[in-house]
Each structure stands twice: as C-alpha cells, then as structure tokens.
C-alpha cells in the first residue's frame, strides 16, 4: 500500500497508444504512412497467399524467363506485371516475399537489440560506479565502429543466412539502446519516487523492473521504431554487398543489387520497383517514429 502511494508520482503516462492513434489520425502524412505500413505488413505476412508466383521455389523459377519487361508473359503463362529479374523471378512476387525477409530481419533484430540494450542500460544506470563505467566503455567501443563495418565483419565470420543477419544486426544495434536507456534511467534515479523506493528497501530487481523500467522505456520505443527502419536499410546494404541473405531467397536489398548490373542495359524495373518499396517502407516507419517522438517529448508536443 505504502509503496503505491510513494511511487504514484512516478507512474508512466498511460494511454500512449490511444494518444498516438488520436494524434496520428489528425495528420494526413501520418495517416497515409500508417495505412501504407499496415498494407506492407499485411502483404508481408500473407505473402504466399498474395504473390502470383513463389519466387523461392527454384523448380518453377526459370532463367529462361530472365529480364522480361513489365507486363510481359512468362513461360508458364503468368503475366509479370513488374517484369522479371535476371534469374527469371517475377519481380512483384519477389518484392512481396522480399518484404517479408526484410521486415522479419529488421523487427527481430530490433527486438533482440532492445532487450539486450535495456538490460545493459538499466544495470549500468542502477548500479552506477564501476559497473556503469565498464558497461559504458563497451558501449563506447561498440559505437565507435560504423555499424555496416561491424556487420560486414560479423557476417564474413558467421556466413550467410537470415538468422545470421539478425544476429549481426542485433549486435551492431544493442549499444545504442543501452546508451539511450541509461541516460533516461539516470534522470529517473534522481527523482524522489526513486529515493522513496530505495528507502522502502525494495529489492533491486523490483526497483529496476517496476520503477526504473516503465519510466525509462518511452524514449526507447521511439528509438526502436526508427532503428527498425534503419535496420531495414542496413540489411538492404548488406545484401547489396552480397553478404546478407542467400541469393535464392532475396530480400529487398538483394533484389536491388541484382538489378543494378542491368541498369545500363535498360532493365530498370529489377532495381526500380524494389527500390521504391524499400523507400516507401523506410519512409513510412520514419514518419510514424517521428510522430511517436513528438508525443513522447513534451518540448516537441503542440
């Protein structure tokens, strides 16, 4: 009972989601981004049902269908509305399936990085002193290397595969979360409710879990949204450089890379359509992320 009273001032603002939905819908750009993102997520989720062909089934994809222009007919009679790529995959189907790979990689790696970063950041902020110094120097070292470089080295060591890309992206991103959450938690530590919780001699785990975490997490949600967009781009870059996902199961990035060599010979569609899709996805997530940030940060709220 007494605990509830003592810390009531420190309860996080509730209703973030409903507030978000209300303010979101009030602005056309965010509304459009929201709808776009829903569509993208839906088509990625139901890819096998929506896509005209299965671009990952090598027994049906044929190199003889390679580089058909948008609207041309493939050998099996299917119309390739967005053309086919160099390996004979229908670009539309490949984009839908590629989105799936890209989103899976981005969201899973963001989640893993978030959990790890949260744990490290809160531990550092709560215990302070040497533990803080030690953990933050690791974060410093991690952050001093460009993300793409670290990811390249990791993938060179780990090899190809969706799971490996997720691991590599989680490793390059956790430090950012740790740094952000530590900063937020350091602020919370100086507040009175926190001192009250200490005075009540609550267990460390309980203070971290029940008080520090809920109050530090809001800025992290924003960061996670923006980082998801960022990891989609990093994954695309890695696949573009040829170290990401396997070539027979292309993501958006590898589709773009695939088409790059054909640009001069006029087969623009292999790069163009996946590029537009990548742009749309990243932009939509970023717009929503910005909106979230505006709400979480009082100084930016209107």
């Amino acid at each position: 009972m007494s605990e509830a009273k003592a810390v009531s001032a420190g309860r996080p603002e509730t209703g973030l989601l409903s507030k978000f939905v209300r303010s979101d819908l009030s602005r056309p750009t965010t509304l459009i981004s929201g709808i776009l993102l829903l569509l993208i997520a839906a088509s990625a989720t139901f890819a096998p049902l929506i896509a005209p062909t299965d671009p990952y089934d090598l027994a049906t994809v044929s190199v003889l269908d390679g580089r058909l222009a948008p609207g041309e007919e493939m050998l099996d009679g299917t119309i390739a509305w967005l053309g086919t790529d160099g390996a004979g995959r229908d670009v539309l189907s490949a984009i839908i399936f590629g989105l799936r790979t890209s989103l899976t990689v981005a969201i899973s790696s963001a989640l893993i990085a978030l959990v790890v970063g949260l744990a490290v950041g809160l531990t550092a902020a709560f215990y302070g002193g040497r533990i803080d110094a030690f953990l933050m120097r690791i974060v410093d070292i991690q952050l001093s290397f460009p993300a793409i470089l670290v990811a390249l080295v990791l993938l060179a060591l780990l090899g190809k595969g969706v799971d490996k890309v997720i691991i590599a992206l989680a490793i390059v991103q956790w430090a950012l979360y740790a740094r952000t959450v530590r900063a937020a938690a350091m602020v919370e530590r100086r507040k009175e409710y926190f001192e009250a919780a200490i005075c009540l001699e609550l267990s460390n785990a309980r203070i971290i879990w029940k008080h520090l975490l809920p109050n530090s997490v809001s800025s992290l949600i924003v960061l996670a949204t923006l980082q998801t967009a960022h990891s989609i781009s990093i994954e695309a870059t890695l696949s573009f450089l040829g170290v990401g996902v396997p070539i027979t199961e292309p993501s958006l990035g590898s589709l773009i890379a695939n088409g790059f060599d054909y640009i001069l010979s006029g087969a623009y569609w292999i790069t163009f359509f996946p590029g537009v899709m990548l742009l749309a996805t990243v932009a939509a997530i970023n717009v929503l992320g910005d909106q979230l940030r505006a709400m979480v940060n009082p100084r930016l709220s209107r």
Binding site: V63, G86, I247, T248
Partner: protein
C-alpha cells in the same frame, strides 16, 4: 535537330565527355590503350601475375614465346630439342641486341635465371620454373638445360622467363620500375611508368622480329568497364580490353568502332564429391539427414551435366559471352579433343539417370561457389540450382567471398579436407603447359608427388593416372600430347568434372585497328596493328 536520347549510349557519352583529362592520340602512328588493371611492377621477375607477364612481353623476350593460343614459337631461341633423356639444347638467335646495345648471348640467359629465381619479396616467384634445372652455356649461342628426371616441359617453363641483360643481374625491382635497368630485347622500349596513371612505350627499331607499327604507345589503367568504354567512344583511347557485357551492344552498334571476341581458356566447372568418406552435410535426404554423396555414381554426375542448360546460361545469364564447354580446352587450344562435345540439355534423360542411380525421389543438395570471382558467378549458380531443382534435386545455393570460398573449397572439411559436396569454380591454364589441368585436377591426389593438389572430389582412375604420368615423363612431345588428350577423354566421360562454359574475352577499338586474339584473355600490345 539533335535528338536527345536517354539510354545507355547517352550515359556513356556523358561519362566520356567528363573524362577530358585523357590525352587524345597525337598522330596516326601513336596508340593509346586502356587496360582494366596495371602491373604491380615493371620488373619482369617480380611477380608471376598475368598482367605483369603480358606487360613484360612488350619489353622483353623469353627464349620461347607463346602465340595467342599458347602454342610454343621460337623467341630468343631459334630452335630447341632434347639431346638426351634429361637435357634440352636451345640454339640461341644470333645478332640480337638489347635496347642498350649489348649483344645477347647465353651468359645473359644464365644471369637472368639467377636473378629471376631470387627476387627479394616476390609475392609469387618465378623460381617454380627454374628450380631443379641446371643451365650450362656450351658456347655463346648454345645453351643446355638439364633436369634430374626426364622432363618434357622445359621449353614451356622457359617461355615464362623474360631475359634481361646480364649487366643488370644485381638490379633491384625499383631499377626496373624507374627504367634504369629496363633494357630488354622486345618489340617496345620502356619509356616511363607513372603508377596509377600511365605506362609509355616506344618502338624498338632494331627488333629481331617484325617491328611494330606504332611509334609510341600510351597505356592507361581504367578500372571501371563503363568508363573504359566511354573513353573509347570519346576518342580518348584507341583500344580497350574487357568490355562490360552491358556496354557491348552499345559498342557493337556504334559506327567507327569494332569489337573483338574470342573464346578464352577460362573454364567454369562444377566439381562433385565422389567418395563416401566423409559424409558431408550438403547432400541430405528430404528430411535433412546427411547421406553419402550421390555423385559416387557416375550416372548421378551425368544427370547433373545433362540437367544444366548451357546454352540458356550463355544466352540469358552471360549475354552471349560464354561458349558451352565439354572439356578443359576451347577449340584450337592445346589439349583440345575433337571427340568431346558439350553435353546437350536433356532433363528427361537426367531424371532417368537419377532414377537408375537410385535417386528417383531426388535428394537435397547445397551447391557452393564464390561471389564476384568469375563473370556472373552467383547468377550462374542460381541458374544451375533452378536446373537441378527441375530434375528433382532440391538445390540450395550458398555463395561467399572468393577468399573464404577457396579456403573452404580446399580445406574447410574435417582434417583440412575439401569441404563441399558440389561446388563451382574456374580454371585457366596460365602457363600453357599441356598436362597442367590433368596433373592438378584429374590425377589421384598424391600431394607429396605434386599430383592432384586441385583434385577436391576424390576422382581416381589408375588408367588416367598412368597416361598422365607417362606423358609427363616422355621427351616425345607428340606422344605426350596424345596421352593427355586420351586421359582428358576418359576423365570427362566419367565426369571427373562437369564443364559448364568457357568465358568469351572481349576487346574494342576504333576502326582501322586490328587485334590478333586467341584463347588468352589478357592483352598483348604488340598484337594490336593498324588495319591493312
């Protein structure tokens, strides 16, 4: 009115105009060439590297020269013959002088061999062609080279070593780079080298062979293919090598330019693991349990070869820049067998063969290959995976950077054994020694004897081994060649390797220039001639 066309050509022209830094041809008798790479040194003995070697042949001669198909032709030696089972005698050309005026004698050859085998810090030494041989000057123009065992390839080895003036036996690599020591006997004299910028050569009027037509030659390294093509279109250069496939239609259709193509000796092949020791994780049943390699059975190997639609790869993946292959050598090249044809695409027969081999239900396979090492390598792997999937082999592709691939390809498995069940790689006979591919890839692996270092799939046939060894120890060259061709025929019919295609090399030049090309994809400046 000029039409504005935005297409590949417009891009190339735009790129070309931005390249104004390149000097245009000064007069009709000067030649400007753009190459894809530049040598690592102008020291002909520094590094055994294709670009270094082709540049060295412009300034220096070897005792024996190679034509565009790597057949041996007389160079500084007018003739050569074995005098006994272990000794070759070279009759040297009389009246040849180095660019500095010094006369060429057998002493220069001996001095050269001393230097070439001992260049400090050489990344890949020429010693491999020299060690185990004893050189003896019988007189000024007669040289004897003896080996401990009968060795028919001494003339081939001698074609790899550029002869320098004995006065420069102690010259450093730097002396050759700056020109202090760069006096050869070759068709061009060395003028200067500014690394990354230009190499300049001038005609050697006293050349012992047919003198070249150009007074001066300027060679510029331009790494990017499209930029090279743009420089040619703009008239900044007269001749380029390695036209990017995407630029080829543009150059071919443009007035005032001509394109040269020839089937090179660079072969792309698949290698299929042929033993059950060890069982590798890359061939599995449909539940993912590793199985012994299905390719122990020659019928399964043949099925793979028949499943591959080589013509489709040439047309759709390579843009016409490959020729379907059925053996190591392209037609006209050393070791070519007229009895071997590339397998025709026959997926129905392939399925039958798989069933006969006991794999009627198919199996799962991962094929491996390098990314970015060979022209379109990952796309070819992908196409092959499609083709194998169609005959019931459920195929995955795993590609990796070339450095990683080749390490795992050779010794990534348990106990440093080759790792993969099925892999794609490439091969080009660099030295022109006819038994080379057989000794490296086909002979049973016997590392200590130098046989089969590239035999990664466990192929072993005593009859083939015997033919290779007999050919390599007989001083009768013609008999050796017959043995090698016979060994090739047996090995290819047993699918010791599955050949896919030979790459087609390309060059382009402004009209009025002819280029004599063959199976080598490197560029030889002295073969560029004004058209008659």
């Amino acid at each position: 009115m000029r039409k504005f066309i935005f297409g590949p050509e417009a891009l190339l022209t735009a790129a070309a105009t931005s390249l104004g830094i390149l000097a245009g041809p000064v007069s009709a008798s000067d030649l400007t060439v753009a190459l894809a790479a530049e040598p690592t040194s102008m020291d002909p003995h520094y590094q055994n590297l294709t670009i270094n070697n082709s540049m060295a042949t412009q300034v220096y001669d070897a005792l024996v020269l190679q034509d565009v198909n790597q057949n041996l032709v007389p160079g500084l030696a007018a003739s050569w013959e074995p005098v006994d089972e272990r000794t070759w005698e070279f009759k040297l050309r009389a009246g040849v002088t180095f660019h500095n005026g010094a006369a060429f004698t057998a002493e220069d050859v001996i001095a050269t061999m001393q230097r070439a085998a001992n260049v400090p810090n050489s990344p890949s030494s020429f010693a491999t062609f020299i060690k185990g041989k004893t050189f003896e000057a019988v007189n000024d123009l007669t040289l004897r080279v003896s080996t401990e065992k009968p060795y028919p390839f001494t003339p081939n080895d001698m074609s790899r070593i550029s002869i320098i003036d004995s006065a420069f036996v102690d010259a450093t690599t730097e002396d050759f780079n700056t020109g202090v020591a760069s006096y050869g006997t070759g068709p061009f004299t060395f003028t200067k080298w500014l690394p990354g910028d230009v190499i300049e050569l001038s005609r050697n009027d006293g050349y012992w062979g047919a003198a070249v037509d150009w007074d001066n030659v300027v060679i510029r390294p331009i790494g990017d293919g499209t930029t090279r093509a743009a420089a040619l279109i703009a008239g900044d250069v007269d001749f380029i090598e390695r036209v990017a496939p995407a630029d080829l239609p543009t150059l071919e259709s443009r007035d005032g330019l001509s394109v040269f193509k020839s089937v090179s000796n660079r072969l792309l092949y698949m290698t299929l693991h042929m033993t059950d020791d060890p069982i590798k994780p890359y061939a599995t049943d449909h539940e993912g349990n590793p199985i012994a390699s299905p390719f122990r059975d020659v019928r399964a190997r043949e099925a793979v070869s028949l499943a591959i639609n080589r013509q489709a790869i040439a047309d759709r993946v390579m843009d016409g820049l490959s020729a379907p292959a059925g053996q190591f050598s392209p037609e006209g090249y050393i070791g070519y067998s007229a009895n071997l044809e590339p397998d025709a695409h026959d997926p129905d027969r392939a399925r039958e063969l798989l069933a006969e081999a006991g794999y009627g239900d198919g199996f799962k396979l991962t094929i491996h290959g390098p990314a970015g090492r060979y022209s379109n390598d990952t796309r070819i792997l992908e196409a092959i995976a499609q083709m194998l999937s169609r005959i019931g082999i459920d195929t995955d592709v795993e590609t990796m950077p070339a450095s990683v691939f080749f390490r795992r390809f050779s010794r990534g498995g348990p106990g440093d054994t080759p790792e993969f069940t099925a892999a794609m790689s490439g091969y080009a006979n660099g030295s022109g020694e006819p038994s080379h591919p057989l000794r490296i890839f086909i002979h049973t692996k016997q590392r200590e004897r130098g046989y089969g270092p590239g035999n990664r799939n466990g192929y072993s046939n005593p009859e083939v081994d015997k033919l290779i060894e007999d050919g390599r120890s007989s001083m009768d060259i013609a008999m050796g060649e017959r043995a090698f061709i016979q060994a090739t025929e047996i090995a290819m019919r047993e699918y010791a390797l599955v050949p896919i295609h030979h790459e087609i090399a390309t060059w382009a030049a402004r009209d009025g220039i002819a280029y004599e090309h063959g199976a080598l994809d490197s560029t030889f400046i002295h073969k560029i001639r004004p058209q008659e």
